[in-house]
Symmetry: C2
Subunit: 489 residues, 2 copies
């Protein structure tokens, strides 16, 4: 009863805060002019507001889902979907801008590089229509400018958050565990790349026989991606991160990232040049391998000495700085090698966890030191991911058919990959864990769009596929992985 | 010997990292194109690099100064000055952009709102000359665009950092202590506003008799500001934050912010309208008082209940979220009231510290939870502040004279304010603690420039005054406040 009342009051409070913080535009005009007249009108003020709302929404959504027995991350995603789409519907500037995501980055780049205003850049970046018009109208207002600066802070913060998350996951994973699941991970990754690729190619050739092979190859490529952020977070929320399935998924995701990079390179080369330059592909593969070999070398040779020296320092915060700095450095290197930064963050955690655990026993562990930071910023990533789910995409009928086919193939292809494991683990769980495409699939689709092989309908369908696989993963993974208190085998 | 060698190796490592991370522009071009061809080219990569370098520089600078017995913050400031000006000299894009500070905000606003590119906007925002040309050239390159996105993340992060710092200072200060020093703070604040204002007015009237009264009034206004961030940090570094002098300075800085706001309002009104509208001034004063009264009301009525409920929650990270959310909310409100956000953050700490200390005894304190965050982000603020010290400003001879006069008056005016205290405390320490103008003085000068009363020479002189008072405070404060292990009286 008291809980019911508390939940109700919490809801009322949340709606009230949303209304106060993100008032309709007509009220904003008055607030803006008042703020402009203030002496200190600090540019950080709108960012503080956005962070507070995101944190509040994440906390409420997370608790709501935890009570329903689901992973907290699902609540964060759903709060993001709900708030951003309501905000868009009511024309609230900040929420509309945050919902656009990557598009805002393109628009600002155009405004910076061409002799156009931000509003004109929106018309250049988007297909003509009411969407471009309303976005341009918002970008012409001071509130729109504030919203762009909020995006310029919150988006990198979210990206750093997922780096911190994968670093933590790496810290909690031991190298020997990864070695044990190495073979299983490899087969899961290869199946998880080949199966969706072939299924996608086949489905497209069958559904739209008039389409070009280049386009079908690209769609196959989009389907190969795996974004391990969601899965890692779900496993943490459900306290299942130490299961064998979790290790297999993590290993497979790393290998998948390398394979996906090669698929992308091959497919792009085929589309652009009509043929594949072996040298180019070799350079790309070499960089990725160089990164992986480099992190192992750093792990075996450099880190033990570094950690031993640092262990003597009693400054616990210096250790935190070093840990995060190392994670950032390997993330940057991974990005240099063409891999996702989170692959680097995971490698950093893996390497550092091994030595920190033995050297630092009994003291404040790096995990403990990172815990406050994790709880502060990781939800930002998932709320922002939810915010970028555009519900109106589901209203375009001609897209829905392709989206349904892509989504089915995307799910089937990765679930099949789970069969590459031994029967001793939950093969369904592994398959579902590989399912979310996240930003990796979107990057692939975006490159295809840039090359002109992926048209708007296919792009929207790919976005829907990414959204559905992302939102379905938390509940399906929870259902597939029955609680299992101690690590199996 | 081992320390010497360690220091030498550390220095070599630092220079190597700087060279690797911020290579000369000709090398960058090659790296850029390689990065652009990579699949994942994540926009967060340049931000990760900048954060790593800032953290590394801050750690080395801080340790260097700590060894010399100085406050670590001085090392962070000096590393900022050194690295940014070297980077500017060698044309390194990111460092050049970070060094510009506020100017970049103006330039992006122009590029967004007018039909110009970022490079053209630089010419519109800056006086014609080689500085504008070189900045425009950098802003026309991809590296320049990356640097702008780095600034768009690092600048708000620094502002949030100083909010966290003042929140922590507030948490460590008790309301009753503040009440004890209330009278002393009030007299220090009033003297510290009146003395520099009159001294500035007099000095300008004497030095440049041909100048307008409006300009002299504005210069007086610039000199009234107090930016308490530096002082708070120095006192923390020297473990002197619990001294009576520290409380007096903090209280005086809050009152000073309110008084400075009123002075700014009156002076601006005189310049714009030629007369002062009593209604406008009353509204501004009312908002500031409303904020202060509101935070006291929240402190006495709302917080105890909230904290009691939160204390029952065993989620330590939820408590951290609540604490930071509260600090952000009061910072936002302070900004709404026309005050500096850090005044709100300090009030939030004061209010929350009172109840958290009694409710949460024995558990993880909010201070402990904030400590990792503090050590990660607070140095960013001070390195960035150091980076914005433009050494070439000291080369303009016609500016140096005015700057010397302003600086002398600025120091004298605040040191005199210390005399308003009783003899039982270090009056010199209090006066020096009130000395740094920081961003508050720059905001005042910027508004004057916007209104056309402050010309470029005066503006540069004001910037030099702010830089010198900021850089002098750490060593002078350390000298004035002899170590005093237990709180006096």
């Amino acid at each position: 009863m008291s809980t019911e009342r508390g939940r109700f009051l919490g809801g009322v409070f949340f709606v009230g805060v949303v209304a106060l913080i993100f008032p309709p535009p007509q009220f904003l005009a008055a607030t803006e002019s008042a703020a402009a007249s203030a002496a200190h009108a600090d540019p950080v003020a709108p960012i503080l507001l956005a962070l507070m709302l995101i944190a509040l929404g994440a906390a409420l959504g997370g608790r709501w889902m935890s009570r329903l027995g689901q992973a907290a991350v699902l609540g964060e995603l759903l709060v993001g979907v709900l708030v951003a789409n309501l905000g868009f519907y009511f024309g609230q500037p900040t929420l509309t801008i945050l919902r656009e995501g990557e598009t805002i980055r393109n628009i600002t780049a155009i405004a910076f590089q061409q002799s156009v205003t931000l509003a004109q850049a929106a018309h250049l970046a988007l297909p003509p229509g009411p969407h471009a018009d309303s976005l341009a109208a918002i970008l012409a207002t001071p509130a729109g400018l504030n919203a762009v600066s909020v995006y310029g802070f919150v988006d990198p913060l979210a990206r750093i958050a997922v780096i911190v998350l994968l670093f933590l996951v790496g810290l909690e994973t031991s190298v020997s565990e990864m070695r044990q699941v190495g073979k299983a991970s490899f087969f899961v990754a290869v199946t998880g790349v080949v199966a969706p690729f072939l299924l996608g190619l086949g489905a497209m050739a069958w559904l739209t026989p008039q389409s070009s092979l280049a386009r079908d190859l690209f769609i196959g490529g989009i389907l190969t991606a795996t974004s391990v952020g969601i899965t890692a977070r779900v496993l943490r929320d459900l306290h299942q991160a130490q299961r064998t399935e979790a290790k297999i998924i993590l290993g497979a995701a790393v290998i998948d990232d390398v394979l996906g990079l090669l698929v992308l390179a091959v497919v792009s080369a085929l589309v652009v040049a009509g043929r594949v330059s072996v040298t180019d592909i070799a350079v790309i593969a070499l960089k990725a391998l160089l990164f992986l070999a480099g992190s192992i070398w750093i792990g075996l040779r450099v880190t033990p000495h570094l950690v031993k020296r640092l262990a003597r320092l009693e400054m616990k915060n210096f250790r935190l700085l070093f840990g995060l700095g190392f994670a950032f450095a390997l993330s940057w290197l991974a990005n240099w090698a063409g891999l996702a930064p989170i692959v680097g963050a995971f490698a950093a955690g893996l390497v550092l966890g091994e030595f920190f655990l033995s050297e630092m026993e009994g003291k404040h562990s790096l995990r403990e030191l990172l815990s406050p930071l994790e709880s502060l910023i990781v939800p930002v990533f998932f709320v922002l991911m939810g915010m970028q789910v555009k519900l109106e995409a589901f209203a375009e009928l001609r897209v829905i058919g392709i989206a349904a086919a892509l989504t089915g193939v995307a799910i089937a292809g990765k679930v099949v990959a789970g069969l590459a494991c031994s029967r001793k683990v939950s093969r369904l769980g592994v398959g579902i864990g590989m399912m979310p495409r996240g930003e990796v699939g979107l990057i692939f689709a975006g490159i295809g769009k840039g090359l002109g092989v992926v048209d708007d309908a296919i792009f929207s369908a790919a976005v829907i596929m990414v959204m559905i696989t992302t939102l379905l993963t938390p509940p399906l993974l929870k259902a597939a992985l029955k609680p299992q208190p101690s690590p199996a085998e």
